[in-house]
């Protein structure tokens, strides 16, 4: 399966290598660098690259390429999924997954990689199990370790590894028992020139932070479970119960985890919470272009649209812009032609707008394409699909937990074509 792993940073240095079988020379990465050169953007490097004796499968996260070396047939998604799991684990352990963080914690990284794969086949990828094997580094623990000489490495087989609920460790104890659920929905949409929706879908997740003593058995029911017809679950969810009763019943892992993610497809109707009025014109023969952009809320059910950020790749012909935002700030990078406008909140009484002129390359003909706008926003306390949690019950333990639920709607890949 997975032979070796190389981590390559943005400037093309291999800063970590790990081999699970015999050593593969790092010169194999030359093929990767070749492909990287050919690609115009970092994202354009093909995920699967064949070389004479090996295959390279890579993912790009946090501006680091994780390149796995494969020698024989294996489902590419298997490797890709695993690599992403590695990145998630690093992020979980070190808070961030940067080159510096990995270099600082190279021993923990090595210990983790050693546990995650055996002979190239995933061994333990569940965060709860890994954390029992190798404790995440904290300042306090490092200090204690240097004084007492104890180690970060567990001596026992993690309890989860053998139990019927491998994702939960036993003997969990908390003084404050609490369970929080965040329903976060992202809207992916393409809005066309005239403001009508070409496609819109919702990608929702329920992230949980469960800190409960013992072995609680939770059930979560929804007001409108019909919305969830395309779902993927954390392995802890009892699938049959869901099939039969549309109730989520599960023994939760300890700590943070993603309970389920769902998808409300483009066949359903999705409310679009913002609208954009735009007027971007380039006149033939003149070196000026007009730029006029106004945002407004729509179908927000009375909630405030916040953290609005509009970004756009302006045509190459644009030299500079001179714009005037009614609120927030904007930046324009004359090299990459990237315009971004940090709007903040949308006040329905006074709609934010960005108006002004663009100066174009003199003599060049007017660009024939108009830019598309990528919009980000957040709406608190609302799930745009209308999903609502009905109730959360706990069985198997005596105490009364503190329960909380939060809704949020965000823009995913939200594009407005002009």
């Amino acid at each position: 399966m997975i032979h070796s792993l190389f981590l390559i940073n943005a400037s093309g240095d291999i800063f970590l290598e790990k081999h699970w079988k015999s050593v593969v020379s790092r010169s194999v990465c030359d093929y990767f660098f070749e492909a990287q050169e050919r690609a115009s953007e970092p994202e354009n490097v093909p995920p699967v690259i064949p070389t004479p004796h090996h295959y390279l499968i890579s993912v790009l996260r946090h501006r680091i390429y994780f390149v796995a070396v494969i020698q024989s047939e294996v489902p590419p998604l298997f490797v890709i999924e695993f690599l992403h799991r590695v990145v998630d684990t690093f992020q979980d352990y070190f808070g961030v997954c940067t080159e510096a963080a990995i270099k600082d914690n190279v021993v923990v990284v090595y210990e983790l990689l050693e546990e995650m794969l055996d002979n190239g086949f995933p061994l333990a990828t569940e965060s709860n199990i890994l954390k029992e094997l190798i404790k995440p580094p904290t300042i306090l623990r490092t200090m204690v370790n240097t004084i007492t000489g104890s180690t970060n490495v567990g001596e026992q087989l993690p309890t989860g590894q053998l139990s019927v609920v491998p994702w939960r460790r036993t003997g969990v104890k908390y003084t404050n028992n609490e369970a929080y659920f965040d329903v976060v929905e992202e809207i992916d949409a393409i809005i066309d020139k005239s403001g009508s929706t070409i496609t819109a879908e919702i990608q929702g997740v329920i992230d949980a932070c469960v800190k409960l003593t013992g072995m609680p058995d939770l059930t979560l029911s929804f007001m409108n479970p019909r919305l969830l017809d395309d779902v993927s679950f954390h392995p802890c969810v009892r699938f049959k119960r869901w099939e039969a009763e549309r109730i989520l019943s599960f023994i939760p892992p300890d700590g943070n985890f993603r309970l389920l993610s769902y998808h409300v497809s483009s066949q359903n109707l999705v409310a679009i919470p913002v609208y954009v009025k735009h007027n971007i014109t380039f006149r033939e023969g003149s070196s000026q272009g007009r730029f006029d952009l106004t945002l407004g809320p729509k179908q927000t059910m009375g909630k405030v649209v916040e953290s609005v950020l509009v970004s756009s790749q302006l045509p190459r012909g644009v030299l500079n812009v001179n714009l005037n935002p009614s609120q927030g700030t904007y930046t324009f990078d004359p090299v990459t032609k990237l315009l971004s406008w940090d709007v903040g909140k949308i006040n329905p009484q006074k709609l934010p707008s960005l108006k002004g002129t663009m100066s174009l390359q003199a003599g060049a003909s007017k660009p024939d394409e108009n830019p598309t706008f990528n919009i980000q926003f957040k709406i608190q306390q609302m799930a745009i699909s209308g999903l609502k949690v009905n109730r959360l019950d706990m069985y198997g333990e005596k105490y009364k937990p503190f329960k909380g639920i939060k809704y949020m709607t965000k823009a995913g890949k939200f594009q407005v074509r002009t």
Binding site: E111, L157, Q161, M223, S232, S265
Partner: protein, 1109 residues
């Protein structure tokens, strides 16, 4: 390696013992030098940038100190060196001594080092072996396992016998974790010494029998690696693997699924035969109604899916819900390669879901979808919009999406796709724009209806400013013209004009070729172009030169008078060209066309050779031939056979003996015998974590197959009910539910919704005790919601698998008791518009009973503030309106047996607040089963429509009520759409009466008059109506109004005034209706609203209604 195994073992052990002794003595001699640690410390801190050599020197010192923390520090730095790929192999002796350290972290780091360098330092590595051998006997399973892991990772051929022994021992270990490790070790040993294959296969065979989910994945990996062709090892474990699958860890699932895919292709017959569809349904009956006896009778039928084949499909289906994308993909490929054609589409939704994942995942999934979409357009067509390109997608994702969109294009959706393509052509990413043009070309050739449109569009692109776009258009136009050269001389002329401005060689060459090929159509222009080319010949690219020579030759043949000299000039230039291809071509052409003594016979045929009609190029997908590879594999992704790829075999013509999969302990009777629902259910419900080993051991197959049969096929809970209860109970219950659904579907006809909800309340109370009897539900349920949930889940099961369906269909009911029960139900179903069906498998009937529970909450979500208003408004009106008009949507004559009627239930629409809810009653009045009733193309395309879920089957005589939501945007324009069955499509339209576009809105009298004052002047429409009789009671008048418009009554203090208020559904504009009854029979009718068009239409409708009253 031919020596006897035991002797070798003792020999190795002996060698190890001596070495260990020497190592210990080494350590002893080093102990006294204590001061070194201080020295080492100063080294480490003081001179961080020492030379490499010196750095290693001080590491060595640190390792040889006897302070644990220093050793650990040194090991950490060494691991740092390893991670950077720096060589630190000279430290091997110093490191290996610490292998027996008590400090577990130190020990682990030593393991890391050992595994990395053991191959290079084989002799020294042997020093550590005895430590591992000792650890293999440790009581702590974790230590046993990690010792085996490291021991097997040391690639030193001399210890092969020791490894073999350790693996064999570990394979019988108590701990499944150690057994798992031994499965991994098998592969390692095999790669180290392939000669051990036979012995390793024995171990694999043993481990395959293991019942732990922990081991299953790993041993299958070993199997795939060591002996993928030993299919016979799988037979006995096949059912066990299928049943364990859900509980195996996710990585194991991927491997097992792909192995089982291969297995199934060798063991079962193809389900892809023509008659499979029919049999498929029987198959389900066979499973779900537990009718074993039927199997024998049906043997004569042409195709019968092997129960084991079905078991695999059924048990993998829930894994589509996995969070692991690799698992979802592997299930998808399993369905693609193994499932009957019509079942494959269950994977579509899950695959589309994966598209939201990381970029790399998208890439692989899109590749697979591209291959699938070539063969099965229908699978992905409903999700077409998910493949629309975003400007932020990386280029390779964009091109893949384009590929898929092109594959999905057909007559119905081509206009949408072309509109989308237009946007892409303008993209800033020019490579992508060029790819789009090619895609347009492909659409144009594939769909003859749009060829002309596309061609015109491409010609427009010729005036694009970007050169690559123009060039690509030229190339594509060339191909298109070739497919239908007639009537296109205009385009050729246009291109000739553009010729001077185009510099891209490929495009220039294409134009030249076109000129030559169709020179008879542009007789005047072609020679002129040739003249220009003669001037610039030397400066052109090779490909252009070649085409120039071609053009010259063709013109010479058709129009030698004008072009003879030009041709000769060009041929002379070509003769001395630097490129030998061009020289060659020139010589060839000269000999061919210019008559001379030598040229002889060929000359006569020159015309036929050069101007032969050429077949049009076929523009086809780059993914056309990818289906030779198994989906989801590396080979598929690269379109090259990767090493270690196992070919997927073709289905065998005759299935091998299925009995090989029988395991000794099972009693076949028990396995498929009708088991009482109750027992079965309790088992299946509890059996999510089926890991507990006893259960499996006691009879893996019988228990598990039972478990399986109820596990994955979404069994509607209501059918379970009727299974589990005694006969009377079940019939009673079904009556109950059926009447319930009857009440709900015809809910609008009942005079009051209050009474309806009351009824529901009663039902609930009735149902409750029954639910309590069910073991699974009783332990944990919030009663009310549980009930609603259950109802909705049972009904929203639109899949044909819904068991009850096949139950009632089964021609020969297996049990006599059931046989009694069933006719009864059947009769009932016919009389009462088959209410039974409704409850069981209509997707939307539940919408009817739910509204007041769910919708009010939904509305509160949506409306935020006005919760109380809305719900009270619903209450205000509902009691007062009379019978509802039903309209014909589709007559059964035009609908080939399918008839549809619709009415407006006047309930707030669940799907979106701006929609009007419409209930459609679909009836099958033909004598055959209608399948896959769904909504197809709609027009205008922007029509906002909430479709009902596809109805998979509609029995003859049966009818189904479904509800839809239509956003009419406050206009009475008809909503046109297509109602499709599997075979046919019928265009239908829903024409709303203006009154149905309103929603009741409650307000006080004071508010009413206030609002009315605001809406005067232009916004007021009024008329006087003469009623038929002078003293019509108020109620009758009010009833007439309510029958026309969905408005709410406003309580009025004046006797002679009647007031109604409502809001338009889409724009929420107020509509106020007031009637002044002061001088009967004349009524002054006033409507205030800012929707003046609606007002006048409403006025007209009301006038007509009142005149009749």
């Amino acid at each position: 390696m031919d020596r006897g195994f035991p002797s070798l073992r003792s020999e190795a052990a002996g060698a190890v013992r001596t070495m260990l002794a020497s190592a210990e003595s080494l350590q002893l001699t080093l102990k006294p030098e204590l001061s070194q640690e201080e020295q080492a410390l100063t080294h480490a801190n003081g001179k961080p940038k020492e030379t490499h050599k010196a750095g290693n020197e001080d590491l060595k010192e640190m390792l040889e100190s006897n302070k644990e923390s220093l050793k650990l520090e040194a090991m950490k730095r060494i691991v740092g060196l390893i991670s950077k790929g720096k060589n630190s192999s000279e430290l091997f002796p110093a490191v290996v001594k610490n292998v027996a350290s008590k400090n577990i972290e130190l020990k682990k780091l030593v393991y890391v080092y050992l595994v990395r360098y053991a191959e290079e330092q084989q002799d020294l590595a042997l020093l550590s072996i005895s430590t591992f051998q000792r650890a293999l006997k440790d009581p702590n399973q974790f230590i046993r396992a990690s010792a085996l892991r490291v021991l097997s990772s040391i690639r030193v051929p001399i210890i092969v016998p020791i490894m073999m022994l350790a693996i064999k021992e570990a394979a019988t270990d108590m701990s499944p974790y150690v057994r798992k490790t031994s499965a991994h070790a098998i592969q390692k040993l095999y790669s180290l010494d392939p000669d051990q294959k036979e012995q390793l296969i024995e171990v694999i065979e043993k481990l395959l029998k293991d019942k732990s989910t922990l081991v299953a994945g790993s041993v299958v990996v070993a199997f795939e690696d060591v002996c993928p062709d030993r299919i016979d090892l799988i037979h006995k474990n096949y059912r066990k693997l299928c049943n364990l699958l859900v509980d195996v860890e996710e990585w194991g699932q991927v491997v097992i699924i792909s192995m089982l895919t291969r297995y199934a292709r060798t063991q079962f017959t193809s389900p892809w035969k023509e008659d499979a569809v029919f049999d498929e349904n029987n198959e389900k009956t066979f499973y779900d109604s537990d009718s074993e006896e039927k199997k024998g009778q049906n043997e004569a039928k042409p195709y019968m899916m092997d129960p084991d084949h079905r078991l695999l499909l059924r048990n993998t289906k829930p894994l589509l819900q996995s969070r692991n994308t690799a698992v979802v993909m592997s299930v998808a490929q399993l369905y693609w390669h193994l499932a009957p054609k019509h079942e494959v589409s269950v994977v579509t939704k899950s695959l589309v879901r994966l598209l939201r994942s990381h970029r790399e995942v998208q890439y692989i999934v899109l590749q697979n979808i591209a291959t699938m979409s070539i063969q099965r357009k229908g699978m992905f067509e409903p999700f077409m919009k998910s493949f629309y390109v975003r400007s932020t997608d990386p280029t390779h994702i964009k091109t893949l999406k384009l590929e898929i969109l092109t594959n999905l294009a057909n007559e119905a959706n081509i206009s949408t796709i072309l509109r989308e393509f237009q946007t892409y052509v303008k993209s800033q990413d020019k490579a992508f724009a060029a790819a789009t043009i090619q895609a347009i070309g492909r659409c144009a050739t594939n769909i003859s209806e749009v060829t002309d449109t596309c061609l015109n569009g491409l010609v427009l692109l010729l005036s694009n400013r970007d050169e690559s776009v123009v060039a690509e258009s030229v190339v594509v136009i060339k191909k298109l013209l070739q497919t239908q050269p007639t009537q296109h001389s205009e385009i050729i002329k246009h291109m000739a004009k553009l010729f001077d401005n185009i510099t891209v060689p490929m495009a220039r060459a294409s134009i030249l070729w076109l000129m030559g090929e169709y020179c008879d159509r542009v007789p005047k222009i072609a020679p002129d172009v040739l003249r220009k080319m003669a001037k610039s010949f030397t400066a052109e690219e090779d490909i252009v030169k070649l085409q120039t020579v071609n053009l010259a030759a063709k013109l010479y043949l058709t129009n030698s008078k004008q072009t003879k000299l030009l041709t000769q000039y060009i041929l002379n230039l070509g003769r001395y060209d630097q490129n030998y291809d061009i020289r060659d071509r020139t010589r060839f052409i000269r000999q061919l066309i210019v008559p001379s003594e030598k040229s002889g016979a060929l000359n006569k045929y020159a015309r036929r050779i050069l101007l032969a009609p050429k077949p049009a190029p076929v523009l086809e997908s780059a993914f056309k031939d990818r289906d030779r590879f198994q989906l989801g594999t590396l080979s598929h992704s690269l379109n090259v056979k990767a090493s270690g790829y196992h070919e997927l075999s073709d289905w065998p013509a005759v299935a091998p003996d299925p009995s090989v999969r029988n395991v000794e302990v099972i009693e076949p009777v028990k396995e498929w015998a009708p088991s009482l629902g109750k027992a079965k259910q309790s088992k299946s419900d509890d059996k999510f974590y089926s890991d507990d080993e006893e259960k499996e051991e006691e009879g893996s197959d019988s228990s598990s197959s039972e478990d399986g049969s109820s596990s994955s096929d979404s069994s509607s809970s209501s059918s379970k009910d009727s299974d589990s209860g005694s006969e009377e109970e079940s019939s009673e219950e079904s009556e109950e539910t059926s009447s319930g659904s009857g009440g709900s579907s015809s809910g609008s006809e009942k005079s009051s919704s209050e009474s309806e909800s009351e009824q529901r309340q009663k039902k609930k109370t009735k149902k409750m005790p029954q639910r309590k009897r069910k073991p699974a539900a009783s332990d944990s349920d919030s009663d009310e919601n549980g009930n609603v949930d259950q109802a909705s889940s049972s009904a929203s099961e639109s899949s044909p698998e819904s068991e009850s369906e096949s139950d009632s269909d089964s021609p020969a009911p297996p049990k006599k008791k059931e046989a009694n029960a069933q006719p009864k139900m059947a009769v009932k179903s016919k009389k009462e518009v088959s209410l039974l069906d409704l409850d069981d498998f209509t997707p939307a009937t539940t919408n009817a009973p739910q509204p007041s529970l769910v919708s009010s909450s939904l509305l509160s979500d949506l409306e935020g503030l006005s919760l109380s208003n809305v719900s009270s408004a619903v209450q205000v009106t509902s009691p007062s309106f009379g019978p509802v008009k039903t309209y014909e949507l589709l007559h059964h004559m035009t609908g080939k047996g399918l008839s549809a009627k619709y009415h407006f239930p006047r309930q707030p629409c669940l799907y979106q607040p701006t929609m009007v809810s419409v209930q459609v009653i679909l009836t099958n009045s033909s004598d055959h089963v209608l399948e896959e009733i769904h909504i197809g193309e709609r027009s205008p395309a922007s029509l906002n429509l909430h479709c009902f879920n596809t109805i998979e089957r509609l029995e003859p005589g049966a009818s189904v009520t479904v509800s839809m939501g239509v956003d009419f945007s406050d206009s009475t324009q008809a909503a046109n759409f297509q109602l499709c069955t599997k075979e046919d499509q019928f265009s239908v339209s829903i024409q709303p009466a203006v009154g149905e576009l309103l929603m009741p809105f409650s307000m006080s009298e004071a508010d009413f008059s206030k609002e009315q004052r605001n809406l005067q002047g232009m916004n007021e429409t009024s008329a006087t109506v003469a009623m038929a009789t002078a003293n019509t009671p108020r109620q009758a008048v009010s009833k007439q109004v309510l029958s026309v418009a969905n408005v709410g009554v406003v309580s009025s203090s004046q006797d002679s005034m009647l007031r109604f208020s409502g809001r338009t559904v889409s724009s929420k504009a107020l509509v106020l209706v007031s009637l002044d009854l002061k001088e009967p029979p004349a009524v002054l009718l006033t409507i205030n609203t800012d929707k003046t068009v609606m007002a006048s239409m409403l006025l007209r409708d009301l006038k007509r209604a009142l005149a009749q009253a």
